[in-house]
Each structure stands twice: as structure tokens, then as C-alpha cells.
Symmetry: C2
Subunit: 482 residues, 2 copies
């Protein structure tokens, strides 16, 4: 599977000496787009692929959470690698800044322009090109939507080794370039390990072709990557367990890793605050069980033999009940109930967006300490900001906590000052990561130093320079200037 | 798990204008080691860690196959990151070239000096530092021997997500720096995806610390890596199947991926020529079965519930018999028989070394065409060199073919001229890789262009320059000068 040219997203610098606060970023000395550039683009791509009307620009200038807003005057929708190359050749020569854009589902403002960068949208390169059913190798364009690929593969008995809540809009190019994590990481590992090859276009228009259809290749640096799709297995089971405290959650996870071992495909958790919010904010949603529980754990299994898998699942549940690790729960019977259980977990981000303000943190924390942060933050806000909500959910298989804090707009700045830099510093102190899977983008640009030592940041900057000497690709993201 | 400083192995250039043939490489203008350097090293590391006597140097100057020989005058065995840093600081300032060395089990001459480079051996940094039994995160030094780590983990119910024939001598630093493949790739994926963090020392002595104990971190380029060990599962089964032709082999593999799915842990094959050679060349080895078969396939399963796994295995075997995919075979009963079956596969490299001359190729080829090359080469040699032997074995799960050709010393050059560049060109034509898992080292330095486009090689050279501006680390390997 290839992700055309998106690997460069985020390889960028910011203007020297600019203040870190997002309000204070200054435009760098890139050229400004002129009528002659638009004519050139029209000649290169044809009329329809060059978008300049305000309504269409609106979507591409804004991220889906409406947190970041750019002011681009032109969106380009190339239909081939050659067109991408011709665009970049022109932009690099003219010193026009460019922001590559996939499904625009990012959470850190990485895929929208900051000023007037040319938006290079991959959405017209959306085809699945080939599938080798023998080896499970699939080739697709960078703009291919995850769910479309999933549906295409399902017909042939395969699955994408990645699943995300945003599957209906996110694109493979963005998934690969950001090494998207998501719900199945515990089973299939980091997406990067499944990518087999990439055809990429450099900032100057050079096409790098490292498409390979082979699983192993140790002939150089990891510029190309490996990607293979696994067989779709028909036996899927899902259980939702209620726990009284986070220690029980931890023990349930340990038991699942041992008793369900090779068939575990996801282990997720959310607190009761999350499920209450989903029911309150989203029409048509109701609680799965009548009882409430401070913590809910979803355990999904996927295997090749249904009777074996139910045996294992019931053994696991019995073990949990005997050891008093869980207080209650349910096993989904059939697809409808399964969708209802998953719906509770997957609708949490949507329910949070209905609140006036929401602060989102995506942290890796040692699993045993994951929930401590939620409780500490709750404690810190409780007295002075009783209207603030503190929500914890995430991927237990890999210690990825999504901490979300909501509040009325009136309290926004005060609450922010309590949250930051506290949350980032607490995480850094635990040797955690301040961006487990969302990336840095604009949002966390001034926080990078909390996850990376300065020597490493210096190297990142130099490597960025190798790929993009003029710094035209996705400026103002990830790296501050020295 | 961390691999200290070995990530830079192979990030090197060769002298500008030097001829490609290995006999023609000229020493670059590095400094020569002087008595004062030796005194400095003794001060930095203590007497015992500075080795200058000829007998001890001999091991470090030669690779295990006796194909590559260097002429280093000093081997350094640091015991800490600080000592590694102090060595490199001195060597970089003095412009002394350095070759890092792990277990020296490589197959392409990557870990031995070419001229008089300082050998920096990691073998005194061999400790397992910690294991978090809850998350499965293990931390060890770069010189830790794979088998020692395996034994340490087994006591706690975990396994290393990697297994290699050279497990008794190879070191984790080398495994990680070369992204070693081996026997379990089909189950655990590329080693790279399991590495969690690396503490590395740059060419100038700067220590880069990206040790993390978290599974996800998307805050920058992939300089650090992720590494987690999975739970050790107790139910292991092994079957050896005989096939009449390679088409049957392919169908057996497809059936295993579908019928055994989540419990497959290895799929290997070797031809009858290989098993005959093992029996002929190695004392104490005998054929596993009385019948002979042109092809043998080893299928190993690993799971959490023995009765489920035997059910699946027997279903798979019945399916293969019914579909006439296999002609016969055996299922190992107990550890002794299992070791005997694995022994047949794992002793092939050793049996090959007993021949007068052996040409070794490690290729990734689309699985369906894997064996064609073996047959073509056999055909090309048959008439004029009847004493030449052509052997095919490898990892079916990922299309990795080990093609080996043996011959009497008298025929060496003539046979080589038939094999090369033919084998590399045939592989490149199939869009394969000329080094699936062995790397480039000295051996394939002039063949890199067959697997990588020139733009990519140019990028590799620039990235090497970022990490090692003076080019002191492992010169004369991987990259030719422009």
C-alpha cells in the first residue's frame, strides 16, 4: 500500500524568532499566489482540479473541530503522481508554501493552512489499484478513504490492519504519514510496520519510487515502509465489563492478555462520565446496561474458529468473576448489539464536541498510572470550576489515554491555565509522550521539547532540511525554528 | 528495549572515485592509530577494555564465515553509554574511523573492519536492565545476547518477538540496527515495530536518549523505535509436510494462513537438496522421514489453549490431504522431535559452510515466483558445472528466499560469473529486494542501485551526513561515494 507524497507532511520549520503562542506566529517570506500561478496550475491540472471559489475553500481552510483556520486562496486536486510532481516543481521554484491535505480529520491543526499556503488535496487520488490475494499486498492511492478500502478488502476476505473512528473520511496517505494508531494496534502493531512501499514526491517535484510488493527489504534507510493486509477472520466477539476502580481495570486487561492471548483484537476503556455524556449529548443513544459502573472495559476478540473463541471468552469472564476483577457486564449477541457497544466508545469524541469548549489531550502514560492524571485534573478543577467536566477514555492495550476537559466558554482561559502546562509536564515527568497518536501539528508545536531532547529536535530539523531545503512543505508545524 | 548506539552502523560513505570491486577499495584519509590514542583509551576505559594482542584481535578482524578480513590494531569494549560517548568523542576529534561490532554474526561483512578501523565491541554491555511484567516492556544493553534475553524472559512468561539461527551469539544492538528478520516475522512483524526506544551515541559522542516505556509516541521522526515483548504462550505445535512441487507448497501456505490464522508462528520451507546436505555434512543428523520429497514445509503454531490448537492443526492437515496439497508428513510429538524437525531447517547454513565454496543470496521475491530462480540457476549450472549444488530454503510467510550455490574452489570464478550479476538482475526485474534481511555491508555495496532508485540513494547519503559529518562510523560499507 502506498501513500503518495504525504510522508512530508509536517517536515517543517517556523519563522526564526517568532513567539510560540499560536496567535503570535508571523508569516514567513514565501511568495504570494498570483494570477499567473493559478493559470499555470490550470494548465498543469485542468480547470476542474483548481479550486478558487470561497465556498469550496471554506472546507479546506478549516479543521473539522473548527479550532484552526487558514486563509488559502487555492486548493489543488491532482489526479496522478505526475500532477503532484508538477505542482511541487512549480511551487518550489516560485517559493510558494504548500500544505498537503488528506481527509482533514486531524486533531492538532496539521492539515490546514496557517496563512495562505497552497492546499494540495489528495482527495481525487482515491483509488484502490490492486490486491494480490495470494500475498495480501494491496496498492492504493494516498487519497483512498479508509472505509472504502475496508469495504473493498472485505469482499476478498481481507482487512486493513488499522481502524479509526474517523474511518468514513480519513485517507490512507494521512494514516500512513501520521502513523495512525487507533483501535486495533494491540493486534496488528504500529501501522508503519505494515507499510510495504511508498511512492512519494519530494518538495522539488522529484518522484521517489520505493514501491515494493515484498515483505522484507533491508537495503537502506527506512524511507519506504512495508504494508500488508491480513486475512479477515469471521469469528468476532465483544464483551463490555464494568469495574469499580482502575486497579480492577488493570487486572482485567492483564487477564485478557493472558487468557485471550492470540485472539484479542482490541481493549478499550471509558469512564462513566464518558457514557453519561454520550447519552446526554447525542440523540438516540442510551445506556447499554441499567447498572452504572465507574469504569467500562470493552474486550474484542477476533479468530478463525467460533467455538474456540467463545470457549476462551467465557473462560476469561469466569476467571474475572471468580477473582472479583469485574462487577458485571455483558457479551454482545449479534451485530446490532456489537454496534451498540462499540457505538458507546466511538461516539465519545462526537459527544465532547457538543460541549461549549473542549481541551483534548492524547497522552501515552504507563498503563498503571493512566487514570491517576484524570483524577488529579478532576480534583484541581472541582472547587473553582464545578461546571468543568473531566473525561478519561482510551486504548488500554498500549497505555494511550485520551483526557478531555470541557467547560463553559466563560471559564475557558482560567481552565486552560490550570491544565497547561501542568498536563504536559506531568506526562513528561512520567517519561510519557505528549502526543501518543495525534501528532504535533500546530497545536503542540511549543510542547515538543517536553517529549524530545534538544539533540533529537536538532536532528529532526536537519533531516527536514534534506527533504525540503526551501521549507515550503507544511510550514509553521511540528518544528519551531532554532 | 534499547539498542545502544548501533543504529549508526552502516551509515557510511566510501572514498570518492574508488572502484567498486572489493579488491580495489582504497583506504580513506582517516588518521592512523598511535600509541597516544591507545593511552587515551586506557585512561578512558581502563586497561582491560582495550585489547591489542594479536590473538584476541583475530576474532574481531574476521567475520564468522571467513569471507571478510580487516586489520584493526585495537578493539575497545566499553561498559557504559558514557564510555561509548568518550570513545567516539576522541575518535571524531582525531578523525579515527570506527566500526561498531555486535556478535559479528552478519553475512555481508558489515561488522568487521575493512582496513584499520577501531573496533568498538558492545560485548561488555550485555545486561538485561529491567522488565515490567505488567506492560511487557524490557530494557537491555546493546551487547545482550539474544538467547540470554530469551532465557531471562522465559522465566517471567514472556518471549522476544524475534528468533534467529544465530541466537546464541547475535546481540540485540545488531538485531535492532539491522532490523533482523528471522523465523517469527510472520507472527510478530518487523522487529522495528516492536522497538520502543533507543539510547544512541552520535559520531561526535553526543548521547541521544529516546528511551520511552510507552507503546505510542507520534511526536517526531522515527529515530527512536518501539519495543515490547509478548506473553509466552505454552501451546506449541510443529508439523513437517512433504510436497511434490512448489505449487503445492504455495497452496499449503495459503491453507495455513486461512485455517491456522491467528496461531501460525512460522512457515518455513527447504528443498530435498538442503536436507540431503544436512545429513551428508553434519555428523549425527539423519532424515526425519524415510520417504523423500522434493519440498518440505515446516508449519509451527503457538497459542494459549492446547486442545484448540491441535484441533486447528488437524483440521488444517486433513484439509491439505483432502485437497492433495501435501503428499505426506509428520507432526512432532514432544520437545525432542520438535527440536529434530527445527534442527533440519536451522542446520542448513552450517551444512553449507562445510562445502568448499558457497555463494549466499538473501532475496525477497514475490512468493509465487520464489522457487523459479532456484530452478533457473540449477539449469544454468547443470551441464558445465555438475559438481555445483543449488539449494533453496527460506521464510514462506514473507517471500524471503535463501538461495545458496556451492562449488569446488577450482570452479569458483567461473560459477560466480554465471551467478552475478544475473541473480541480482533477475530479482530487480521482479521488483524484489537483493537483501531481504542480511543488509548490504561490504558484500552488496556495488549492488545497492539494483534495489534503490538513485534519488533514494542520494537521500540516504545526505541523511548519513547529518548523523556522521566526518564519515568516521563504519566506512566502506553500504554506500559508495557519488
Amino acid at each position: 500500500m502506498m501513500a503518495r507524497r504525504e510522508i512530508f507532511r509536517g517536515f517543517t520549520n517556523m519563522l526564526r524568532g517568532v513567539r510560540m503562542h499560536s496567535g503570535g506566529i508571523a508569516r514567513k517570506q514565501f511568495a504570494k499566489i498570483e494570477e499567473s500561478d493559478i493559470s499555470t496550475f490550470r494548465k498543469l491540472l485542468g480547470e476542474k482540479s483548481v479550486i478558487t471559489n470561497d465556498d469550496s475553500l471554506e472546507f479546506h481552510n478549516n479543521d473539522w473541530m473548527k479550532q484552526y483556520r487558514g486563509n488559502s486562496k487555492v486548493v489543488l486536486k491532482p489526479k496522478s503522481t505526475e500532477e503532484v510532481s508538477s505542482i511541487l516543481k512549480h511551487c518550489n521554484a516560485r517559493k510558494l508554501a504548500v500544505v498537503p491535505q488528506g481527509g482533514n480529520t486531524g486533531l492538532v491543526g496539521g492539515s490546514v493552512p496557517v496563512f495562505d499556503e497552497v492546499v494540495l488535496s489528495l482527495s481525487s487520488m482515491n483509488k484502490v489499484l490492486s490486491l494480490d490475494e495470494y500475498s495480501g499486498v494491496v496498492e492504493c492511492e494516498a487519497g483512498c478513504i479508509l472505509q472504502n478500502l475496508e469495504e473493498h478488502l472485505a469482499k476478498h476476505g481481507f482487512v486493513v490492519p488499522l481502524d479509526l473512528g474517523s474511518r468514513g473520511s480519513c485517507q490512507l496517505g494521512g494514516n500512513v504519514s501520521t502513523n495512525a494508531g487507533g483501535l486495533r494496534l494491540i493486534r496488528f502493531g504500529s501501522l508503519r510496520a505494515s507499510v510495504l512501499g511508498i511512492e512519494a514526491v519530494m518538495a522539488d517535484g522529484t518522484v521517489l519510487d520505493s514501491l515494493k510488493t515484498l515483505r522484507k527489504d533491508n537495503t537502506g534507510y527506512d524511507i519506504k515502509q512495508l504494508f500488508i493486509v491480513p486475512r479477515k477472520l469471521e469469528s468476532v466477539h465483544l464483551a463490555m465489563l464494568g469495574c469499580n476502580n482502575f486497579q480492577q481495570v488493570l487486572e482485567a486487561v492483564a487477564a485478557a492478555k493472558f487468557k485471550l492471548a492470540e485472539i484479542v483484537s482490541a481493549i478499550e476503556f471509558f469512564d462513566q462520565q464518558c457514557s453519561d455524556l454520550v447519552v446526554r449529548n447525542l440523540p438516540g443513544m442510551s445506556h447499554v446496561l441499567e447498572t452504572s459502573s465507574p469504569f467500562w472495559v470493552l474486550v474484542e476478540t477476533t479468530g478463525s474458529e467460533d467455538s474456540h473463541d467463545s470457549d476462551k471468552l467465557y473462560n476469561f469472564l469466569n476467571y474475572c468473576m471468580e477473582k472479583q476483577v469485574v462487577e458485571g457486564g455483558t457479551v454482545a449477541e449479534g451485530g446490532t448489539q456489537m454496534r451498540k457497544l462499540w457505538g458507546m466508545r466511538e461516539n465519545i469524541p462526537m459527544a465532547l464536541l457538543k460541549e461549549e469548549e473542549v481541551f483534548k489531550y492524547d497522552l501515552s502514560v504507563p498503563t498503571s498510572e493512566m487514570y491517576n492524571l484524570v483524577e488529579i485534573v478532576r480534583e484541581r478543577l472541582k472547587e473553582r470550576y464545578p461546571q468543568a467536566g473531566v473525561f478519561g477514555y482510551g486504548h488500554l492495550g498500549d497505555g494511550n489515554l485520551h483526557l478531555n476537559v470541557t467547560c463553559p466558554t466563560a471559564d475557558k482561559e482560567a481552565v486552560e491555565s490550570i491544565l497547561e502546562p501542568f498536563v504536559y509536564e506531568w506526562t513528561a515527568e512520567k517519561r510519557g509522550s505528549i502526543s501518543a497518536e495525534h501528532g504535533i501539528g500546530q497545536m503542540k508545536i511549543s510542547k515538543l521539547y517536553l517529549s524530545k531532547p534538544p539533540e533529537l529536535i536538532a536532528l529532526m530539523r536537519q533531516i527536514k532540511g534534506v527533504f525540503d531545503p526551501n521549507g515550503i512543505l507544511n510550514p509553521y508545524k511540528v518544528l519551531l525554528d532554532e
